[in-house]
Symmetry: C2
Subunit: 719 residues, 2 copies
């Protein structure tokens, strides 16, 4: 059950939050161990040399002798500062890739632009907001809606998935069955005096990071211990975490008061359904459960055939203890989840060949454990070598790769990382995360897990409704079945109140165990048998149980399907997309840096701006005409008839990531400008809207437009 | 503040839930009063005639005399049953239009089809569900997503609205400001013994309806009283409701136990944000507040210009006491809301002329009060006559009409009903509901309200952040302003602890009142002045306050914008659309009724099915080829290669409302069939997908396709 806890916690969050995976930490630490050892050696040498100098001075030794000793001391000091500098550099790289300063400055530039242009707004800002809640403002909302439309096209439509839409309010019984009521928790500590709450692992992590980064005097052994602790933080029990907090003397960061012992805090928002107050409900922590509970109807809707996939897009909620990492760790977010149901005995996929030749960064378990880094692998090879468990899982990994890169995620900063054994639920067959590198490190944005039959079984058990599939045989099959029949009367006389435990233990025997028992009973007449639930061994005699094989005719096979679940954190993907799309370039005058988002037209919040070169009624009329055609074609655009300079207007739209701008500089033809190249072509007024529509809908490309239409030098519409 | 309660409660629910508006009840009751009076007369006559017969018999009168009296008695009995039958018919029409039996049977047929084909699924069905929560299954989800896409195109894109996306979890302060925390309540009564909760108005309504429908002996006065009660149910206070429940002796319907007094139950789902438990939050009851709190940023984003509109689509939540009316009154639903901000001094709309000539059913206040019915009015006339308050409100009424009818809502069963004075909030300038007639009666599906400056003022006040707009004057204007300056020192000496109340009351004076005071002070030296907050009158002397007019130069006008709010209950619109689209027709053999949804292609969950006429590899390959082209064109479709008869396959897709079917009956051309006409044409294999795409996207029509391509008799693909 520890694994269950683990898997639930991981599902929509990075496995090593805001930090690196253990393997990366591991490789980096080799260098830092050398340096720390060198520093420690240098420190000893320094101390003994300083002693030597003092002794020489107090014993009034010869000046030349003292000078030589001081020179040696200075050399050691110089060496010390060199080692320290190197160690500092390494520590800063640790956890941040290439120096945390740059990354943070970059992030600040992106986030400033995003907030200033209302991609995001901290929710309820005029009331000073609520941590972990953000609004999408107009351009952000538009990007989100484009991403979701493309998701529907790429997954739901392309794969004929069954999309459903279930409520967020969920009764307790459903989340009891899924394990969330009992296990969806984070460990929390409270300030003993003020009652302020903290995540226990965060405090421990902060302590370790600070120690590692600022305290150069700690030994390499100590450093290794802290790093190991960081890497295994998610595995610690409440007791272990509490012990570490005590051991390190960690106190409340704000008040320096002592802290309570860690205890679990359930991350679901709780509420009450109906007026009586007796019916507990929760805001769903994921959308998947809505699909599982509908399995029977959906299977029937699909003509009682496997495989099929159901999908859902919707809000999910997590009442984080103390949200960090800005837009990546929020209390309400949009998930898009797919549950692909397959026969556990046949996980092939008919369209697998369409993705098998894709090659991209994968980070298999083996490479992580042995301290290597992610490497380019052909997907087909990963599946055929068994690195990826099965074809269907491989197919979805490939489709997710295509989805993300099509949106504009940088291929070089995208990897598929396999879960380590300790990260995975005990029932899971295999699990891969699509991780995207951002200024916060590698972020889990999509989880792709083969969850076997776990979820359907859990709901079958709790609801009493069988969530199974049937395979009808073309002709009946004769099968041999082992039948274990305890003789209850005899067992009752022998074991009295414990009879039930013994009966259950007998019935639960695996085939081999039962056959062994049968052989022993036949040869010796009795056998020692361990009953776990009694915690002891009992003696079973021949007359207590009948074990034999029987032949039966079966017309169908009834089984619980496996589920392969790609689960998309839409907000995280969008945030990473913002970082990957952002760049700056100097203004024409060279006096300032201008911000640009290089969104592909598919994603861009506004596809096109239209403006008259100068304020002029004729030009304005043409601009309005083009705007009307764009609206009719369903192309989102803005018309800007302010008198601002063209350069400023371009800068304004570049910052919103608008890929095309139409400048009306005549009444017959217009200038069409592409955002990133700043190239311009001349297009007839009547054609302008349709050219933009064709590029936006992917029927043509800018390269083709550039080769077809007359070029326009930038002097006419001076930037 | 009573009005506030009213307005909040009405916002997304019908004003006369599952019943008729007072005016309709009023007109119908005239006829029923006549009948009830006739029945009462008949009853008296019957009784005296029966007495007469008894007397004649006991006095041993002549047989002929007795016979004549009995005959008269029988005639009266016959008359009674005729009146009763008429009254029954009228009562059934009341509240249901044309006999509740038919309506209920129709509804049952629609709902059965919807649930069987998974348009809807009661949520968490395997756990026996939760009242008021429904899932959209695959076809329902697709219809919903089509409706929302069209909403975005028709409103957001067409009007360049600023779309935002705010969280559902909302901190208390926001909903305190909006009035929901204090006033968003329904009155509830509890079973004194079991604690079961009921809506007080529901119990009273049920009692009145039952009395009116089943008890024919009540006097016409009593009937009129009950009907009046039904019509004014929403206006009753807790005390009035409680008194009526006592007066009528209403008890708990399930147990017949006595009931508690009515008390308010807040309809918001409450939760707690963060781990401390001290920060109360609610699941938003509407999406509008997210827009209001962002007004300042959105206004700035729009270049500090009015008018502009913001829009939001999202989930909203109401913890109904006991949900009824199936899919119309649910605990979680999707709202699409627009907040159009305008200068209160200029509510014209630039695109108003585009809708002014639309003509449709409107039901102005005057017609309701005078007992007339809704009538066709040209929108332009309604605005110019002042029936609709202003152009912008009129513009949105027109756009809503176009939106609904484009989706497939029947024009004859759609009306725009103006709110009566008692339904409207005190601050509202005007309010119209788009009501759609369904088997439940007329259902409020869209509310279109001019809410004046109420919401922005409420949040300005609570947050301390000014939510205002500026109009910059081209040149400064000289304005005369009244300045009221209380002399605090003198007031303090005179009124001690009450000084603050007096100062505030003086400062709050309207211009006329202040000028009157100034005149009186100048003539008499003192004046009696009522201070509401003290509940008494005080004497103000000349030295206590300076009142005078000052001239000032102003460079701009600062004002709180008015907001015009069209608010769409998406689930209600979709349900009404289902009812309006549903019909049955006999199968070819005539042995059964087949269900059809006549969705327009825009709305249809699946646009096209593709099936081979017979199971045959060549035909299957063609089918798959066409399917691939449809996917590439983004047209949702299903391919059906089961061997079922074509007739059955058509029936199956008709029931899902699929408008087109492609039957592959050769390898060069195919049969394309339209759902409602059942007409068929032959189309080349290569053209099939693009023809379907063009009709679906509105570039061509079936009529045009029918006139272009060769017709196909239905013998080839026998239904």
């Amino acid at each position: 059950m520890l694994h269950l806890l683990h898997s639930l916690r991981l599902k929509a969050r990075p496995s090593f939050p805001s930090s690196l995976s253990p393997s990366v930490i591991f490789t980096r630490s080799m260098a830092s161990i050398d340096l720390r050892n060198a520093l420690s050696d240098n420190q000893s040498a320094l101390e003994s040399q300083a002693n030597a100098v003092r002794q020489l001075k107090s014993s009034a030794a010869a000046k030349s002798e003292i000078d030589a000793a001081v020179e040696a001391l200075n050399a050691l000091k110089l060496e010390k500062s060199t080692i320290e500098r190197e160690l500092h550099a390494l520590i800063n790289a640790d956890g941040n890739g290439e120096g945390s300063g740059n990354k943070e400055a970059f992030r600040q530039a992106v986030v400033n632009t995003l907030e200033r242009r209302l991609f995001y707004i901290p929710s309820f800002k005029i009331y000073r907001g609520v941590a972990g809640l953000y609004d999408y403002g107009p351009p952000g909302c538009s990007v989100k809606s484009n991403v979701l439309s493309f998701w529907r096209q790429h997954f739901v439509l392309e794969e004929n998935m069954l999309e459903v839409d279930c409520p967020c309010v969920t009764p307790e019984v459903v989340l009891k069955a899924s394990g969330h009521v009992d296990k969806f928790t984070d460990l929390m500590v409270k300030d003993d005096k003020t009652g302020t709450c903290y995540r226990a692992d965060h405090l421990l992590k902060d302590f370790c990071n600070e120690k590692l980064q600022k305290d150069l005097t700690i030994s390499s052994e100590k450093a290794a211990e802290l790093k190991h602790l960081l890497a295994t933080l998610d595995d610690l029990s409440a007791e272990e975490l509490g012990a570490k907090i005590k051991e390190f003397g960690i106190v409340a960061p704000d008040t320096k008061n002592p802290l309570s012992d860690p205890y679990p805090f359930n991350l679901m928002f709780q509420t009450s359904i109906g007026p009586s107050g007796s019916s507990t409900g929760y805001m769903r922590p994921e959308t998947a459960q809505g699909i599982f509970v509908n399995f029977r109807d959906l299977y029937y809707y699909n003509g009682s055939k496997l495989p099929f996939a159901a999908a859902q897009i919707g809000q999910a909620f997590r009442n984080e203890i103390s949200p960090r990492q800005g837009l990546l760790r929020v209390r309400e977010f949009t998930l898009a989840e797919i549950e692909h149901f397959v026969d556990p005995e046949d996980k092939s996929h008919p369209k697998y060949s369409e993705v098998a030749d894709l090659e991209f960064f994968m980070f298999p378990r083996q490479e992580q454990v042995s301290g290597q880094s992610a490497k380019r692998i052909r997907l087909g090879e990963a599946v055929s070598k068994g690195i990826v468990n099965n074809e269907t899982l491989g197919y979805f990994i490939g489709r997710v790769y295509l989805f993300l890169t099509h949106l504009g995620i940088d291929k070089e900063r995208l990897r598929f990382r396999q879960h380590l054994a300790n990260e995975m639920a005990h029932y899971a067959a295999d699990c891969w995360d699509a991780e995207i590198e951002s200024s916060y490190g590698w972020i889990e944005c999509v989880g792709i897990a083969d969850r076997s039959a776990y979820d359907l079984r859990a709901h079958s058990e709790k609801s009493g409704v069988q969530l199974v599939a049937q395979e009808k045989f073309s002709e009946p099959k004769e099968v041999e079945k082992l039948v274990i029949a305890p003789v209850k009367k005899v067992l009752g006389q022998a074991f009295k109140g414990s009879q039930k435990n013994v009966v259950e233990a007998l019935e639960a025997m695996k085939e081999k165990e039962a056959l062994d028992m049968k052989a022993t009973l036949e040869s010796k007449g009795e056998v020692e048998f361990e009953v776990c639930t009694l915690g002891k061994t009992v003696t079973i005699t021949k007359n207590m149980v009948n074990i034999q094989k029987e032949k039966k005719k079966e017309h169908q096979r009834v089984f619980t399907p496996s589920v392969i679940e790609p689960s998309f954190g839409i907000g995280r993907i969008i945030y990473c997309l913002f970082e990957h799309s952002f760049y700056t370039r100097p203004s024409k005058a060279g006096d300032e840096q201008l911000n640009v988002f290089r969104f592909p037209p598919l994603v861009a919040p506004i596809k096109c701006t239209v403006f008259p070169l100068v304020q002029n009624q004729k030009f304005e009329e043409v601009a309005k005409l083009i705007s009307k055609s764009l609206t009719a074609a369903g192309i989102s655009h803005r018309i800007d008839i302010t008198g601002t300079s063209i350069g400023k207007r371009y800068a304004r739209t570049d910052e919103l990531g608008v890929p095309f701008a139409i400048t009306v500089d005549s009444t017959t033809s217009v200038t069409l400008r592409e955002r990133d190249s700043k190239d311009q072509v001349r297009v007839d007024v009547e054609k302008a809207a349709s050219v933009v529509r064709e590029i936006t809908e992917g029927q043509t490309t800018w390269a083709h437009v550039w080769s077809t239409f007359p070029h326009q030098s930038s002097t006419a519409t001076d930037e």
